[in-house]
Structures are given as C-alpha cells and as structure tokens.
C-alpha cells in the first residue's frame, strides 16, 4: 500500500501468458498483426451476438492458459467481468472453466480492475495462478447501452464503437514475462454528463483523477513511464484529458500518452466515429499490442489506465448522469527495478 489507494506489489506478480481474440473490424485495424485470433464473422457462427461474445471470451481464456503453459486445474481463481446484464459472458465462461470465480463489474475498466485484483491475490500469497479476462461485443453493447443496431438510429460523431473481442491474462507468482508492480484503484467521478453517445467526455475526468492519484501515491512523474495509455477515451475524451492535465499542471507531455480507443482502429478509414470503446478495447490493445512492444524492449514501464462508464439501462431510466471510474495498473519488464 502506498498513499491513499495504490497497491505496491513487492512480490512482483508475473503475467505469464495472455491471449487476444477480436472481430472483423478490429482485424481491419492497424493492430491486426498483434492479435492471436481474428474472426471474420461477428456472429462467430453462433445464433446470437451474446453467444458470440461468450465464444470470444472462452477462446481467449483457453488460449491464455495454453500460452501460460498451465491447465485449468492449476488456476486458483478466475477474476473477470463484461458489459452484459449481470456479467453474463463471464459467468458462462466460468461455468465452462469450473474454477473458483470472482465476477467483477467496472464497465470498460473491468480489464484493469480484474488484472489489479489478480495481481493483489497473487502478491499476497492468496493464489499461485489467477486468470483475469474480459470481453465486449459491438452488437451486444449497442443493445445494452444504446439502441439495437438493426433499429438503425443515427450516431453522432462523439459516439464510440465498442470493440468486438476478448482479452485474457494469467498472473502467476513466478515465471517469465512482464511484472505487475503497482495498481491504483479509481473512485467514481461524475461530471454530470448524461449522453451515452459521449462517454469519452464523461470518463476523461475519472482517468485524470486516477493518474494523478497514482503519481501522487508513488511520488512519481509522468516521465517515469515510457508510456501511459487510457482505456477508451477516444478523440473527444482524449482531448479533454489533455486539457485537464494542462490545467492540473501534470507534465503529461514528458511521457508518451495515448489512448487504446485511438490505437485499435484507423479513425480515418474505419466507420468508428470517435474511436474504440469497451472492455475489450483496453484488454486487447494491452495484452496484444503493448505487451508485445514490451517484449521487444520498446517499452519498459507502462501504465494502463482502463476507463469505465458505469451507466446502465437503470441509470438512464432514472435520469441519472453517467458515473465514471478508472483503474490503473503499472506493468514493467521483468528484471527492471520496481
């Protein structure tokens, strides 16, 4: 524990294996070569999009275990969540795995929320292998949070395109791979935005709040990181975050600051409005693209700040604004100082 809300993992839990599975739009994006499996069909041959999302997650989980070189019997806990009602995709995957399961919900921040919890469990000696996984599907998310796509309603340019995909990581007490050195748990920040077509703007203040808390708790500067990425702020939210950093005198320009929602698609060529979003946005970009860059030695210390808009059909019906959160996990190359 450091400062108010940052865990420092002195036992350095290791990410021993990851897997990413994505859909067709992500497969057409600039990071296509970094994903393990790309599906050309959004339905994955299933009868519904919900079933397709479940398949994405199961595939990612199975492949992550394979890549980590362990069997499911060796998994002590599975920590995960997704965007569907009562985290359905995760619970169905946990049914298949039949390992002890901790279901979590942090909307799109679930990727880092579950990774932070996995690292905490392993670091504290509560487990040897913990599986952290999350998924999202464009068509199921549109149905859950906005309008079913077949309804054909217009989308404003501030809207984001939910990533179809799943990302999984196995965190272990020892082994080869990048290590998780600290994590900062976010608090809910709500600036009163009610528009589910402008979630980047709603989430940006939460991301900035968590990044500032992380730097303050560890007494670090942005320059201590090779890269800081936010989960899914996309064009609108990214600009707001930059402005907030400037206002709060955080020298974010000293590091490379990017956003997974801007990295996963080619915004000029693909019909994704402001950029990507969803649990799978930060999960697939981190586990697919960023960890590969770390392995190549291009990055040594990375801070992933997954952002989540905690809205639901219920918050919308109650006329509530969108509560937002962000969780940060610091990943470093094995062998470098914590």
């Amino acid at each position: 524990m450091a400062g108010h809300r940052t865990w420092v993992f002195e036992n350095r839990p290791v990410i021993v294996g990851t897997a990413t599975v994505v859909g067709p739009e992500e497969g057409n994006g600039p990071l296509a070569n970094d994903f393990d499996i790309i599906h050309g069909d959004k339905m994955l041959g299933q009868k519904s999009w919900e079933k397709a999302e479940h398949m994405l997650l199961e595939e990612a989980v199975k492949l992550a275990l394979e890549n980590a070189g362990i069997t499911k019997e060796q998994v002590n806990y599975y920590v995960g969540g997704d965007l569907l009602n009562q985290i359905t995709s995760s619970s169905l995957t946990a049914r298949t795995l039949s390992v002890p399961y901790i279901g979590v919900f942090g909307a799109c921040s679930t990727s880092m929320e579950s990774l932070a919890l996995a690292a905490f469990l392993v670091n504290a000696g509560g487990a040897k292998h913990v599986l952290s996984a999350t998924s999202s599907h464009n068509s199921t998310a549109e149905k859950q949070f906005r309008y079913p796509t077949e309804y054909g309603s217009q989308k404003p340019p501030t809207a984001q395109y939910t990533v179809t995909g799943a990302g999984a990581a196995v965190v272990a007490s020892s082994g080869n791979g990048p290590v998780i050195t600290s994590a900062t748990i976010g608090r809910v920040v709500d600036m009163g935005i009610t528009d589910p077509f402008n979630m980047g703007a709603a989430m940006a203040p939460a991301a900035v709040d968590t990044i500032q808390a992380h730097l303050r708790d560890l007494n670090r500067q942005p320059s201590d990181y090779d890269m800081i990425v936010t989960g899914d702020l996309a064009t609108v939210g990214y600009q707001i975050a930059l402005e907030l950093f400037r206002k709060h005198n955080v020298p974010i320009e000293d590091t490379h600051y990017d956003d997974c929602g801007l990295m996963v698609y080619d915004l000029k060529k693909q019909p994704v409005q402001a950029g990507g979003s969803g649990c799978a946005c930060s999960a697939t970009v981190t586990y697919g693209h960023l960890l590969k860059r770390m392995a190549r030695g291009e990055l040594n210390r990375l801070l992933v700040v997954a952002t989540g808009a905690l809205l639901s059909p219920l918050t919308y019906q109650q006329g509530e604004s969108i509560p937002c959160i962000a969780h940060a996990v610091c990943i470093e190359n094995g062998g470098t100082g914590a």
């Binding site: 959004k42 549109e142 796509t149 404003p156």
Partner: protein
Amino acid sequence: MTYVWAFVVGGLICVVGQILLDVCKMTPGAAMSTLVVCGAILDGLKLYEPLIEFAGAGATVPITSFGNALVHGALAELQRDGWIGIVTGIFEVTSAGISSAIIFSFLAALFVKPKG
C-alpha cells in the same frame, strides 16, 4: 415548382427532426412521436390539409403526415357516425400504412438477419 416546394417543405420538417435529436437531445423514438403529435395538432387546427395542397409529397411523406391522418380519419368519422367515429376512425386512413409496416417487417424478418 411543385417539386421545389415539396423538397423545401419536406426538408424543413426533417430539419426540425434533426434539431430535436441534436439540440434537444431527444431519443429517436421521442423525436418521432413529437413529430406525429405536431402533425395531429396541425390537422386539428385545420392547417395540415392546406400544407399538403401546397407541398404535396413534401408534407405527406414525413412522419407528421401520420399524425395528420390519425386525426383526419377520426374527425371524418365523427361527422359521419357521431362520437363512436372518433374510435373507429383513427385507423381508418392510416390502416394501409400500419398494415404494410407489419406485413413487410414480417416478410423481411423471415428472409434476412440483422448484420449488427
């Protein structure tokens, strides 16, 4: 000239719809219902019929025309059959539109799947 006015009037009704969506932040369903209600009120004030005469399809194609037709049918049967006409007349003029919406959606659902 008829075509020009149809284009201008129909376009203006759509502009109102777009403003309801973008400025008033209405949901598509609420914007659509608002336009239907506006059409109904305009017909109640005997203003929609002159608009149709003036702009033709510019006034009959947008959804406001549906509100107009609901009230129109009700008022026509009210005069013919008395009060019961309000109930029987509402769907008199609009039944073709409603029935074809149901039939064609059913046929579409039989043969195609939403792509997401």
